[in-house]
């Protein structure tokens, strides 16, 4: 049994695997299948100040090796999150990352301030949601935007602050640097890539929102590249994600520079994916006589 524990920005994880924000709700539904305590952590659904119903359905489409979603940040709002969801989650003996997604800097600051009063372990600031008209990706698309929102939220919280980056940019390493400068404790990437599918019979986009965010195995090479570029650009740790489906994928992303790994769309294909990935990592490490998962981080040797 290899030692799978990792540390990200001072927070200890029993293993590096974290269901990604948005695919896992607040965990309840998966407790029917496995104990949440087996997970390294849980990233909760993006929270706004007030309740949001999200975009109109259909909100999902399949693509080769992946999928598109346009949920659009449906959530019960920060008060309901803190009162109804968090107390339950905080008992689960796993790291809780509260994903926040305000549509203005002020809104994000308010949410962070409210979370400051809770026991949540980390804040994951989503500056990269492609499915909302205001805020979301707009913050993450420029260095100035990323820097200013990070700086503001940084001031509002003493909790470890993870900033979640968008892949829909020309130079993600520059944005990573701006975020580091502004005080982020860690980065998480990648969020979804903006995509579209059309039903050719009806000549209408499949998603009611026309476009949506692409995730799943198809985007994995882009995630590996971006994690590697960011790891070369910043000193803060990176939580990698994007298309991770197997233990080997998680190991590859860690070699590229990730300290921990989130799993999204793969959970739709296999609801046990996070647990399977932990088991597969363990097995590969043992077979290759590697004692700790930690030593994988950033160990790729470029040509």
């Amino acid at each position: 049994m290899a030692d799978l524990s990792v540390n990200v920005a001072g927070v200890s994880f029993k293993n590096p695997i974290i269901p990604a924000s948005g695919v896992f709700g607040y965990g309840h539904e998966y407790e029917e299948l496995f104990p949440l305590s087996e997970l390294g952590g849980i990233a909760t659904k993006g929270t706004t100040i007030t309740k949001r119903n999200g975009n109109d359905a259909p909100r999902i489409a399949e693509t080769t090796g992946g999928m598109l979603n346009s949920v659009g940040l449906q959530n019960p709002g920060i008060d309901a999150f803190i009162k109804k969801e968090l107390p339950y989650l905080m008992q689960k003996d796993t790291v809780i990352l509260a994903n926040i997604a305000g549509s203005t800097v002020k809104e994000c600051v308010t949410i962070a301030q409210q979370l400051e009063q809770t026991d949540v372990h980390m804040i994951e600031l989503n500056i990269s949601c492609p499915n909302v008209k205001q805020g979301g990706m707009a913050f993450g698309a420029s260095c100035a935007g990323a820097e200013s929102i990070t700086r503001a939220v940084r001031k509002a919280t003493t909790k470890p602050l993870v900033v979640k980056l968008s892949p829909n940019v020309t130079n993600i390493a520059e944005i990573a640097k701006a975020t580091e400068t502004a005080g982020a404790d860690a980065l998480s990437l990648i969020n979804t890539l903006l995509g579209m599918r059309i039903d050719i019979r009806s000549r209408r986009p499949i998603l009611k929102n026309n476009m949506g965010g692409m995730s799943g195995a198809a985007i994995f090479p882009i995630a590996v590249r971006m994690v590697w570029q960011c790891a070369n650009a910043v000193r803060i740790p990176i939580i990698g994600m994007g298309g991770v489906t197997t233990g080997k994928d998680a190991i590859e992303l860690m070699m590229a520079g990730a300290s921990a790994v989130q799993v999204g769309a793969a959970i739709f294909t296999d609801p046990y994916a996070p647990i399977r990935i932990i088991r597969e990592m363990n097995q590969w490490l043992d077979e290759n006589h590697i004692a700790t998962a930690r030593e994988l981080t950033g160990s790729v040797k470029p040509w």
Partner: protein, 259 residues
């Protein structure tokens, strides 16, 4: 809700018509807890997303579930290629089924097209107390009429083009049946326009009505919020419920039909 995920053996496969298949699957632990109106979430090999298919029959004794599905796109085409003896990856049983009223004297079950199969599990419960009104586009699409007859239910068949049964929409015999004797409940599954029309009739006549809704899904268990369906709350507010967990069966009155 109690569900499991695993690979279950396909013990029988029948072709019920063009691009229409019936699967009988051996899955005692699912059968033990499944109820009419619930669905299974099947993974076609090679797909990222699972496909929701309603439960058609539940045989607790044999430990088998029956499903009926139409080939629509790539995933259902992959499923249609499976052979008896193959294994099928299912997450099931999911969702919220129809309310079962053990004391009901009269229940009307309404199915349209591929919405007909889930009515069979209900007909098997209500037997002679049920009237099944099923509608299809045309004769070649008609299915399961013998199976419904076997339950003892009264069956009324309609086709859009009159090639089999009545040349009528399912709402015509529904109104006639209500006139004859008001039912305790209407259960319906089918295309949204049909459900909307049935819901309107039920509301006007003050009959309790449940409808099974369709929406594209991700997780199938209520975690990803993909399968939104708009509901009117008592206070008039619009709320996005989720077909996979809050449904697929909803009280017809609560659905925001124009939302």
């Amino acid at each position: 809700m109690k569900y499991t995920q695993g690979e279950y053996r396909l013990i029988r496969k029948d072709n019920l018509g063009q691009d229409l298949y019936r699967f009988v699957l051996e899955c005692p632990e699912i059968t033990a807890v499944a109820a009419p109106g619930q669905f299974v979430h099947i993974l076609p090999k090679g797909s990222t997303l699972r496909r929701p298919i309603s439960i058609c029959q539940i045989d607790r004794q044999a430990g088998t579930l029956t499903l009926v599905f139409a080939v629509r796109g790539e995933g259902t085409a992959v499923l249609a290629d499976l052979r008896a003896g193959d294994y099928v990856d299912m997450l099931a049983p999911l969702g919220h089924g129809f309310t079962i009223q053990p004391d009901a004297n009269r229940v009307i079950l309404m199915g349209g097209g591929i919405g007909v199969p889930p009515m069979l599990a209900l007909a098997e419960i209500y037997g002679e107390r049920a009237t099944v009104i099923s509608g299809f586009r045309s004769m070649p699409a008609v299915m399961l009429q013998e199976e419904f007859a076997k339950t003892g239910a009264k069956t009324i068949l309609c086709t859009d083009d009159g090639t089999a049964g009545l040349h009528a929409m399912v709402t015509e015999p529904l109104l006639e049946e209500i006139r004859q004797e008001k039912p305790d409940m209407i259960c319906a599954c089918g295309p949204t326009p049909m459900l909307r029309a049935i819901a309107k009739i039920a509301e006007e006549q003050g009959i309790f009505c449940e409808v099974s809704m369709e929406e594209r899904m991700g997780c199938g268990i209520g975690a990803c919020l993909v399968c939104a369906c708009k509901m009117k709350l008592a206070n008039g507010e619009i709320h996005a419920a989720h077909v996979c967990k809050d449904g697929p069966v909803f009280n017809a009155k609560e659905v925001a039909w124009n939302g």
